[in-house]
Structure formats: structure tokens, C-alpha cells
Symmetry: C2
Subunit: 474 residues, 2 copies
């Protein structure tokens, strides 16, 4: 069912020899928490990307605490065995594939909320806590953690990929919302970065270096996050437009006016159709903005007035409101299910997902030409976007056994990325580089900046055991 | 007039031999833009800290563009000569002292605003642009750059120390507001980090690694910043309280309620007295909050209503308003002049400035005990704080020729920092580590995290020529 890796990545698939003694030592230390069952290994050797998993990691260690992670990494360092951290497997760029062999460390049992500091709007969690469980757990404090990438990912995984999602336009991404970390280094040492203070100038910003490092510099075991008061008023609405251009113009204008909108998502007409079929909704099958407004009653009323006026000027239909928590939940579930709705629309397909992000003024330029190209290609696709951030995703729906379709989708992606870079944007707004976007990273950052990253990696992980082969080649 | 370095730093003062040929080569390349005049060198070998400058750098290169910086660093690398970037010299922790000799690169002539992208709320500037000039230059766009550390520092210097100041409670610090950089590496290569896109997951966050690295990993030459719409409504007010405890309680409550206040500064009664004497103001000589509210007319009215209610509950006096731009300017100039007012109050003194920052709920605990200690010491001081962030500064006013006073001030600082760390805070909210806080950094981050930083430094600057001896020892 999976697609082969693109040929330019093949040199990075270099399975290392695992020393015979290593698995014995690992099992002696972890007992039943170390599995070599085929099904477990296969489950840990793939993610939501379209790429093949062959072969899976040699073993999976289920860590229950920081000491377990530290001990496992120390054993790996001693035997020069690669180690790949695993949360729930929802990453999208091949992050979890054991391209150089080694073991997986599953942190999903490290799911304790360690301390809620409601007075300071912070919480400290273990890396395996999932975002929905976190929000359920802290609901009684009147606070919430806004970052919502769609999938019910772990906080560790979200930190590792610098995830963001629908609320980022107002609340920022994991970059802005991780305050402090506990990290197991490539040597198995445990360090702490940052503090619960809101700001700091105390030395290098190791927290931000780790966030988004995709498991290549160490394994995050504890994470301190910012929380926010649950807004006094929440209103959500849909507005459909005759064209993507009109919808995007509305978004650009609201962002430029500084409207503090909490969510503004674009979903194109064709994707609305897929969502309707999957989620049994009856949304108008036109380009649609899904919006959410947070604030005081007056503040929300002001925001809505401004946005309604802008939408009207851009030929938007009247707002359809989702005012109750249930209606809002249905709306956002439909949005989040767009990915699965699209996958279901073409049985057996996989999605090649793009993740470009441009400065807001270039959003129409980046998007409209790419829509034309995708339409011309004949490849079915979905299109959704966190457009308030200038970030959107095409999902090209391909038959993974059809190399021609695969190549065509990669060509569309390539063209989109290079258009984006010319407009001052980035090849990845929130999914990370993983295996898939390494060539794009080189085009974006330049050889000098990639060499700078590589120097850091070589220094902190001289044995190249931390999720090797990801972000850039060794 | 300056104080000696604390004895624990003496081992770091290791003047390196400058090869005889080096200054000749430097002069041949830079001509009149390379100065070895004593007065120029001395001016570039000190900052606003209390520490001695002896001896100053061997030469000062006035860079006019990135190529100049690159060429100078390449010559330094070739001859293993330290290089210290210089903006306007307003740093506070000994950042600019040539403790291992070498040269200073003055970037103040690199003061061009390279591009304003008003539609995207971004601007790209050369590192030597000062913040007031930037705001004057972009005023016609209706946008502003909010970060305001008091001093009219360069954007390069503010980035290097991760500065913040009075507006950070609403707009964040340099960490949140630098989007992209051009950097000259320790090898003299020019790299770019980040992009103008609002968010990115494209590889290691080199932008955030450079911001706050105090010149030790490279020299920032171009900086892309976020801008914000000038608020529709701005209101500023003073409110005095019978005690610091009451003022602080008001701040803690407003932050916990999520009031999006733009500025909330504490200034104690004694410091108000110094300000009155210096700035010819007639403020009530009691603990005072200086506040500013930004937003729509309704939004500002809501914020003010909430804060007035909280202040009243905590025995605050009626608000005194500064409603015109002129009155606001006078208010904030008085606040910013607190440092100079204090220095003037004790002729010949220097200030040992503290910079701790705690989670907001611990602000009273951190502050009140330290006030008692400072009062008991007999050392005169000023006290101001960006209290909405949990950040405040004591300035102990010492005679730099009196070792006993110096030691007493250092003891107060030490006690404050260790209280702060026990409360989950940081030794530096915004000034950086420089020379002065290296022991505090070790206490805060732990040896493991400092070793992690050192590993990065060793890898990126193996000759240790980039502002050596700062943040941590080699």
C-alpha cells in the first residue's frame, strides 16, 4: 500500500548492523517493555506519510519515565544503534521510518500531567500526553492549550515537529508555546532548558533549538507549555465565496487590519464535497472560510462586524453560525476530517501532502497558480489551509503503486515549493522536513545554513544515533 | 570610575597575542574605516555595566555593509583574533569588554532600512538601525515596532541580547519578533536563517539560536522583524499604591485575568523621588504602576474598567491619565530615565543592575523579600520592573572604588537570583549573561545544559574568536 521513497533519498537508506549482544542487553533492561514482535515493529516504523516502511526498527522500547529513555539511549550510544522517538505516529514526512535501522522508543506511556500552574498559565507534562487528554484534564481550571494540528498528537511529537494548526493565527505555534523542556541528550544525559518564567535572556535558546529538531538532537521527555484562559465568548461561522480568490482576499484584508481572529481556515469546493460525503454534512460546496472568534462579548462583536464587512465586499455569502459548543465541535471535526474524507474518496490512495507558507500578501499568488496547476494535472486533490498564517496544504491523492502518479504529484509539489520560495515563503509551515522535504530545505535555506545545522548535529550527536537521516543527510 | 571584574571572572581575562601582521592587513583592507585611536578603542571597549574596560580592543572596524563584516571576520579567523560586534554600547552585562583582546566591529553605519513590507507587517533592516529611527521611518505606514528596552539600542544589539522592555507583556520580546536573519559566521561566511513567512518547520530554528547568543556564534547583519498596526486607541495612566505589595497584587490579578495590557511598569516610591528630581516631574512618591492600553475604543475601555476595579480593590489611588501623545511621551521618558535619574542621585556611582524574572504568581514572593534585604543593606538603589512579565530590576548604586560596597551589592544580587531560581524563574529576563551572570547561568541551567551550549559554541566557532569569554567560559 505504501509508495517507494523518492530515488534521491535512497542513498540515505543504509541499514546499520545491530550488534548481536545489543538486543539481549536491551531485553534484559526492559523485559516486557521491549518488544520485537513484527506487528509492533511495523506499527512503529511508519507514519501518515506515503512512504514505504521497509524494514521496521529492530525493537520497540515502551518507556515509562525519563530514566527509561535515558537508559535506552545510553545503551544505543554504547552500541552505536540509531534511536527514533515515537508518540502516536501522526507525523507526515517520514519522520518515523528507520532508514538506518535501530530501535523505536515509544513514549506514549509517559502520559502524566506533572503540574498545572493555573495562576501562571503554565502546565508541565510528560512527552506522551496527547493534546485532547491535556485539554480534558485541565478544563476545570478555566484554561486551555490552543495548539491544534488536527490529529490527536502527543505534546512531544508536536514539539518535535514545531506543529501549529488551526489556532496558530492567534495563539502562535509550538515555537511560541513551549517554555521549558527536559531533554535526554544523545549521550543519555538529562538536561533542562528554559524555565517557567515568561521570558529569559539566559544563554542560548536551547528550548527553541530542540523544538522542531525532529528527534535528531535529543528526546524531549518533559514539556512546559503556556496555557490561555478559555475565552469568555466563542463564536464560529462559515462563509462561502464564489471563488478561492475572493475567500483569500477576505483573509488577507482581515490579517492586515490586525483582526485577532482565532481560526480562519480555507477549504475548497471540491474538498467540501468530500467532507460532506464523509461527515454527513450539507455544507455549500464552494470555497469556504471556517472562522472562530475569541474574546469578550464586545471584542468578538467588533471582530465579527469587521470580518462580515470584508466578506461582503468580496462577494461572500451570509455567515452561517455555529454558536453552541456542539455545533462548533461538529464544524471543526468536519474540518479536521478533510484528510480522511479525501483518502476515503479514492479507495487505496495515499496523500502526498504539501505544507508551504508564504507572507500573507503573497497568499493569492502562491495559491491560485498552484490550483491551476493541480487542476491541469488530472490528479485528484484536497485543499485546506490555515490561511490566516499564509499556510495551506494540497493533498495529492495518488495510487502508491502507480509510479507515474507519484512522479506527477512530486512534480506539483516541487513547482509549488519553488513558487513559494520565490515569494519569500517556506517549504514547511508545520509538518517538518523529515525525509521528504530535504531537497526543498536545501533550496530554501541554502547550503551554508544547512551546513550550519549539520555542524550542530555533528557536535551534539557525534555517533549519529538520534533519528539519523532526517532533516538533512549526515 | 569603573569597578574591577569580580574575582571569579579573572581567569577569563586572557589577552591573546595579536599577530604583528594583522593590524597592517586590517588597515590595508579598511583604510580610514579602521581606527586604532585610543579614544575610539576605549569607547568600544565598555558598555553600561559597572565593569572595567582595561585594556580596550586593539582596533575598531567601522563596517558599512555585510561584505565588510565578512571580510573582517575572515581576517580575524585567519589570524585567530577575537572579534566583538558593537552597536551603540548600551548593553549592561559587560558584553563589549575585550577580555581576550581582539577587535571591535562597529555596525552603527549599517543603518539602512532595506525593505518595508507593510502588507505583511514585516521590515528588514541592517543591524545598526536604532529602534527610534526605525519607528520614525515607518510611521507613515501606520505600523510600529513595539520592542522598547529603554535605551535607543540597535536592532542588532537588541537581537543579540534578546531584549524586551516595557511593551513585551503584550507584544513579546525579540525572541518572538525576529523572523529572519542574515548572519556572518565565525568563518566569515554569510548565511540566511528563517523567512518572512509567519511560521516555519523547516529545520533547526537557527534564528532563535542566534537571537540572544550575544555575538558568540556569529554577527547578525540583516534582521527581519514583525511590525504591528499602530493601535486605534492608546491610553496611558499612572496609579499609585500604599505599598509595593498592593501594586504587585494588582498586576498579578490583571495578568491572570488575561487583560491584554500593553505596558505595566512598577516603579517604587524612592525611585519616583529620583525621577521627579531628574525629570522635573511631580509624581506622587509612592509605589506606582505606569500603564498603557492599546486596542479599539471599546477594547481599551473594557481593559481600563477591569484594571481600575482591580486597582481599587488593592487600595490604588484614582488613575492619573496621560491622554495626549505628548503626555504619554513625557510619562514614558520619565520611566526610561529612571536609570539615569538614579545614577545622578549619587555622584560618581555606578549601578549593579539585576534582571530576574519569575512566573507571575511568584512576583510578590520574589520582590518583597528582596526589597527588605536591599533596605537592610544600606546600599541605595532604584527599583523598576516590567512586572506584567514577572521581570524587575534593582539597580544597586555603588561607589566603584569601594570594594566593600561592590561586594555588598553582589551579595544582594546573589541572594535575589537564588531566591528567583527557587521560585522557578530566571537570572536574566532581558539583559543577557555577558560577563557578569555566568555563575548564575550555571546555577540556573545546570552544568549539563551549559555543556550543551558549550558544545554548540565549540562546533560553530572552533577558534573561539566570536566575542570569547561571554555567557560561559570556553
Amino acid at each position: 500500500m505504501n509508495a517507494p521513497l523518492p530515488t534521491h533519498l535512497l542513498p540515505q537508506i543504509r541499514q546499520r548492523e545491530i550488534p548481536a549482544a545489543f538486543l539481549d542487553v536491551l531485553k534484559a533492561r526492559f523485559g516486557a517493555n521491549c518488544s520485537t514482535a513484527q506487528v509492533i515493529r511495523e506499527q512503529h516504523g511508519r507514519d501518515e506519510s506515503a512512504f514505504t516502511t521497509v524494514p521496521p526498527p529492530a525493537a520497540v522500547v515502551f518507556a515509562e519515565n525519563t530514566q527509561d529513555v535515558s537508559d535506552a539511549v545510553k545503551l544505543c550510544a554504547e552500541h552505536k544503534v540509531p534511536v527514533i522517538p515515537f508518540g502516536v505516529g501522526s507525523s507526515l514526512e517520514g519522520h518515523l521510518l528507520a532508514v538506518e535501522g535501530g530501535i523505536s522508543i515509544d513514549v506514549s506511556r509517559m502520559n502524566k500531567i506533572l503540574s498545572v500552574n493555573a495562576e501562571d498559565l503554565t502546565v508541565t507534562v510528560q512527552a506522551g500526553v496527547c493534546r485532547i487528554a491535556l485539554n480534558n484534564e485541565i478544563k476545570s481550571t478555566g484554561l486551555f492549550f490552543p495548539i491544534d494540528p488536527g490529529a490527536d498528537a502527543t505534546i512531544g511529537g508536536m514539539s518535535a515537529t514545531r506543529a501549529s494548526g488551526t489556532n496558530a493565527v492567534r495563539y502562535g505555534t509550538m515555537r511560541e508555546n513551549v517554555l521549558a523542556l527536559e531533554v535526554v541528550t544523545a549521550q543519555g544525559d538529562v538536561i533542562r532548558t528554559g524555565s517557567r518564567a515568561k521570558k529569559s535572556s539566559a544563554g542560548y535558546d536551547l528550548t527553541r533549538l530542540m523544538v522542531g529538531s525532529e528527534g535528531t538532537l535529543g528526546i524531549m521527555t518533559e514539556i512546559t507549555l503556556r496555557l490561555y484562559p478559555i475565552p469568555e465568548t466563542i463564536q464560529a461561522a462559515l462563509c462561502s465565496f464564489p471563488s478561492i480568490r475572493d475567500a483569500v482576499a477576505t483573509v488577507i484584508q482581515m490579517i492586515q487590519l490586525g483582526v485577532p481572529i482565532a481560526r480562519v481556515e480555507l477549504i475548497d469546493g471540491n474538498t467540501v464535497r468530500m467532507v460532506n460525503a464523509h461527515s454527513k454534512t450539507t455544507l455549500s460546496e464552494q470555497p469556504t472560510l471556517m472562522m472562530e472568534f475569541h474574546g469578550s462579548p464586545n471584542g468578538v462583536a467588533e471582530q465579527i462586524e469587521t470580518v462580515q464587512e470584508l466578506a461582503k465586499e468580496n462577494s461572500g455569502q451570509a455567515f452561517e453560525w455555529a454558536s453552541t459548543p456542539e455545533a462548533r465541535s461538529k464544524l471543526w471535526t468536519a474540518r479536521h476530517n478533510a484528510y480522511f474524507a479525501a483518502i476515503q474518496s479514492k479507495p487505496g490512495c495515499r496523500a502526498i501532502s504539501t505544507d508551504t507558507c508564504v507572507p500573507i500578501s503573497r497568499l493569492a499568488d502562491a495559491l491560485l497558480d498552484s490550483v491551476d496547476e493541480a487542476d491541469a494535472s488530472g490528479i485528484p486533490y484536497f485543499l485546506v489551509g490555515h490561511v490566516g498564517d499564509g499556510n495551506f496544504h494540497f493533498g495529492y491523492l495518488i495510487d502508491p503503486n502507480n509510479p507515474a502518479e507519484f512522479a506527477k504529484a512530486e512534480q506539483l509539489n516541487h513547482s509549488l515549493v519553488h513558487r513559494t520560495l520565490a515569494l519569500g515563503g517556506t517549504c514547511s509551515g508545520e509538518h517538518g522536513i523529515g525525509l521528504h522535504k530535504q531537497e526543498f530545505l536545501k533550496s530554501e535555506a541554502g547550503d551554508g545554513a544547512v551546513a550550519f545545522m549539520r555542524t550542530i548535529k555533528h557536535a551534539l550527536d557525534p555517533l549519529n544515533i538520534m533519528n539519523p537521516g532526517k532533516i538533512f543527510s549526515w
